[in-house]
């Protein structure tokens, strides 16, 4: 079996019918069931779907160009006016900016966590599976990453490469490598104890096959939950970077930037920062609830050993 086959079977599962990420497809059924059953899961799903869709279709849905300074400045929200959520200090329409902001913020959130997750999980998988010196080496590197001030990484990246979507994403993602590595390693250590990895070895599988075929799919559940939670935190991190002037390129609407810009106007124009604040909060809440629902869907105990 070639490496590419392997990657395919581990990640898309197309070679093994009815599976994704090596997880059986009835996960979806279970997931839907969880959502049906649990009000909180429903809320989470709804929020994530709503914000996700409004982000994707922002160019179609947003009433105005988010950059255009065409309205009077600092107009308070009025659902019946041209600017239902008011305008900012440049006279830009806040609703439009909020919708475009969702695009960047969610993309940065997802992208950052994906970056952190891919690197972190690889480190964790190898460290946990091989143990010994490899583990030592990798985990010391993780310790260093952990003890390294995250902001410094962010500031340096921005200083070197300038502000921009990808830099912010990588800068934020860096902070999650160690978390994913630790979690993945912990899971692998537990799974390594399971006899099926031993069984796979006894059948003649190579180490890398065991790692990606046997071990990885079984670590996915907690990792996905961590993934959702960190996505929420990455959205917050973006806002902190914006606050420090290290965010995505200036004038690009992101939730963090809206919040950061609005803070100077909070006594005169509360809506500029309160509304994106609420958007962040609702999204983060939604993603967390969504994560909880995912966890329930992954909970093997729930389906039980019959």
């Amino acid at each position: 079996m070639s490496v590419s086959d392997l990657v395919e079977s581990a990640f898309s599962g197309s070679s093994e019918s009815g599976k994704t990420f090596g997880i059986r497809s009835d996960l979806l059924e279970r997931f839907i069931k969880t959502i049906r059953r649990d009000l909180r899961a429903k809320i989470g799903f709804l929020v994530v779907a709503l914000f996700g869709l409004s982000a994707i279709f922002a160019p179609m849905l947003a009433p105005y160009d988010p950059m255009s300074q065409q309205f009077p400045i600092l107009m308070p929200p009025d659902p019946l006016s041209a600017n239902p959520l008011g305008t900012d200090s440049f006279g830009r329409d806040l609703l439009s900016r909020l919708m475009y902001g969702a695009r960047i913020s969610l993309a940065v959130g997802l992208g950052a966590v994906t970056f952190g997750a891919v690197l972190g999980i690889l480190i964790g998988l190898f460290a946990g599976y091989y143990g010994g010196y490899i583990d030592d080496l990798l985990m010391r590197a993780v310790d260093v990453m952990w003890a390294f001030p995250w902001l410094l990484i962010a500031i340096m990246l921005v200083a070197i490469f300038g502000q921009g979507f990808w830099n912010v994403m990588v800068a934020i993602g860096f902070a999650y490598i160690d978390d994913f590595a630790r979690l993945a390693r912990g899971e692998v250590l537990a799974i390594r104890e399971e006899e099926y990895t031993m069984a796979a070895k006894s059948v003649g599988l190579e180490d890398y096959e065991i790692i990606f075929e046997e071990v990885f799919p079984n670590t996915v559940a907690p990792l996905i939950v961590q993934f959702t939670i960190f996505t929420a935190r990455a959205i917050l991190a973006e806002s902190t970077l914006s606050f420090l002037g290290l965010g995505v390129k200036p004038t690009t609407p992101t939730w963090g930037a809206l919040l950061g810009q609005g803070r100077g106007f909070i006594t005169q124009a509360w809506w500029i920062s309160i509304i994106p604040g609420i958007a962040i909060m609702v999204t983060v809440l939604g993603i967390n609830l969504f994560g909880d629902a995912l966890r329930d869907a992954f909970d093997v105990k729930e389906t039980g050993q019959t």
Binding site: Q69, S89, F90, G162, G245, P250, G264
Partner: protein
């Protein structure tokens, strides 16, 4: 000064030079003040180059001369001065002045101070004393400075605040520990620095032996103590002053300042001109061109010019494009949206603080005219959609202005992206000449020379001409007019050359002028008489009303 045009200024900005109409109610008390700055480290005037530092040390030091509330140069340590010839300045020094450590301040102390600066290779101000041939102190009250050639703005270099060259440092303290002196300076001003905690606060305590008195003979300063807190977050500054956590704010967020204008509240705001001008500098030449490859290094210090422009067209090298940009800028809108009113539109380079040369709208002034701008761009051959693209380099403090400029440029079809860099990277980038537009400006300019000589004159291998060139502008006629102006101390003659240079500047438009910003300074209503000339915050005569 900027007084007349300050939006809603309430006249509380007493000076420390002229006779203030000081109230004689029970004057004294201590105040807390806020400085919108992250860190104030160096306070040795011969090293200081940042405005916020100047605003602090001008309370600590005396200069040979200083600016009064109208921005006129008046005596400080010198009671009077004369120019026996074009290259000699002779000062009469006051008697009875002492430094904070008790040393006597006389002509020889000043001589030592100037000579110290002349010997400091790493001082940013050494250029100001480069033309001094000798300093003499024949007696305690006479100080004579001989120049090697006439230098028209020389007296402005000797002012306490903006000029810095004439700020008098203390020999004993400097010699004792020059490192310590940078942080704990000893001067002869109305306050002495008694305590500082790293980056957080500085305590200025009244200096009992300060020489100056008010018109009734009461000794100055009135305040016993000023504690300067560093509050970089604007909204916090605002909260601090509205909750009486501080009584004075060196700089308030303009949007909040705008709120209290018209009075009624417990905070008074004064929009103060610090002689600041601000513009959009435009790259006038390709740094890698034959003409500039060598020349750019005189300004940038980079031996190799950037190849960022290789094979690309730089629209702003076309004078018509630059003129168009200057016309695309709606300065009134900029003032209201980006500055919340705390600025004046700038139509030329001479700022209102240079009262003798300032004209609000000189001939050919840069005025908002989008139609003409489009025509010019058409003429220059930029007719596409967008006409052309370029990036604007600026620092975080410029962001609001840049945002509005971006929109205004796009209105005439120019697509500008914003590149906001931290200060340090900003300087790095600006001398790499890899941006078409740069946010640029200057402050504390009390002489046209200050904004023009280093900024716009053709860079030379020797001397300071063009040393700060940001946009690689060069025009022989301009250079000529400037040289003449520099060597003509007589103001009436000099103004001719200044006007000549100004016209060339307006014709070539290396800068699209934007505004003369005003700094919103806030004080609680009880606090009176803080001297705000040239953007300073002088507490010499400030007092708290009961």
């Amino acid at each position: 000064t900027g007084d007349g045009s300050q939006p809603g200024s309430d006249g509380s900005n007493g000076g420390d030079g002229g006779d203030g109409s000081d109230s004689d109610s029970n004057m004294g008390g201590s105040i807390e003040a806020g400085w919108a700055f992250n860190a104030v480290e160096v306070l040795d005037p011969h090293y200081v180059d940042l405005y916020q530092q100047i605003t602090i040390f001008s309370n600590i030091f005396s200069g040979i001369v200083k600016l009064d509330r109208n921005g006129e140069i008046v005596g400080d340590a010198a009671s009077d001065w004369t120019l026996p010839d074009n290259t000699t300045y002779e000062f009469t020094i006051r008697e009875g002045m002492t430094f904070h450590n008790g040393d006597t301040l006389d002509a020889s102390a000043i001589k030592w101070s100037i000579e110290r600066l002349m010997g400091l290779d790493d001082s940013p101000h050494i250029g100001k004393v480069a033309d001094i041939e000798s300093v003499e102190a024949p007696d305690a009250t006479t100080l004579r400075i001989n120049l090697s050639r006439p230098v028209a703005p020389f007296i402005t270099f000797l002012t306490r605040g903006p000029g810095r060259a004439g700020t008098i440092v203390n020999k004993t303290a400097v010699e004792e520990d020059p490192q310590r002196y940078r942080r704990y300076p000893v001067g002869s001003g109305p306050f002495e620095l008694t305590e500082r905690s790293t980056g957080e606060s500085l305590t200025l305590t009244a200096f009992d032996d300060y020489w100056e008195t008010d018109s009734e003979g009461n000794s100055l300063p009135y305040l016993d103590e000023v504690v300067i807190n560093l509050i970089p977050e604007p909204s916090t500054m605002w909260s601090a002053i509205t909750t009486d956590g501080i009584q004075y704010a060196d700089e308030l967020p303009p949007q909040n300042a705008r709120q209290v204008q018209g009075g009624g509240g417990s905070v008074d705001v004064a929009g103060v001109s610090s002689g600041e001008w601000s513009c959009l500098a435009m790259l006038c030449n390709d740094p890698a061109s034959d003409e500039w490859a060598e020349r750019q290094s005189y300004a940038s210090g980079n031996d190799q010019p950037t190849d960022a422009w290789e094979g690309t067209d730089i629209p702003t090298t076309d004078r018509r494009v630059r003129q168009a940009v200057a016309m695309a800028i709606d300065r009134e809108e900029l003032v209201s949206t980006a500055y919340f009113g705390f600025a004046e539109p700038a139509h030329s380079l001479i700022n209102p603080a240079i009262a003798w040369a300032y004209q609000e709208q000189p001939e050919n002034a840069q005025m908002y005219n989008p139609e003409r701008a489009r025509e010019l761009l058409d003429e220059a051959g930029y007719t596409g959609e967008p006409r052309f693209s370029g990036s604007i380099l600026g620092t975080p403090t410029d962001e609001r202005v840049m945002t509005v400029l971006q929109q205004q440029l796009s209105n005439v079809g120019i697509d500008a992206t914003l590149d906001v860099q931290q200060e340090s990277s900003y300087w790095d980038n600006i001398y790499r000449y890899n941006h078409m537009f740069m946010m640029y400006g200057g402050g504390g300019d009390i002489d046209p020379w200050m904004s023009w000589w280093k900024q716009l004159r053709t860079p030379m291998e020797e001397g300071s001409s063009g040393a700060w060139q940001k946009n690689l502008y060069s025009n022989e006629n301009f250079d000529e007019a400037l040289s003449k102006s520099f060597n003509t101390p007589n103001q009436d003659e000099r103004i001719e050359y200044v006007r000549e240079a100004e016209q060339i500047f307006l014709e070539d438009a290396p800068f699209a002028m934007t505004t003369f910003p005003l700094t919103p300074k806030g004080s609680v209503t009880q606090l009176k008489n803080v001297g705000n000339q040239i953007g300073l915050s002088n507490f010499h005569r400030a007092y708290l009303e009961e």
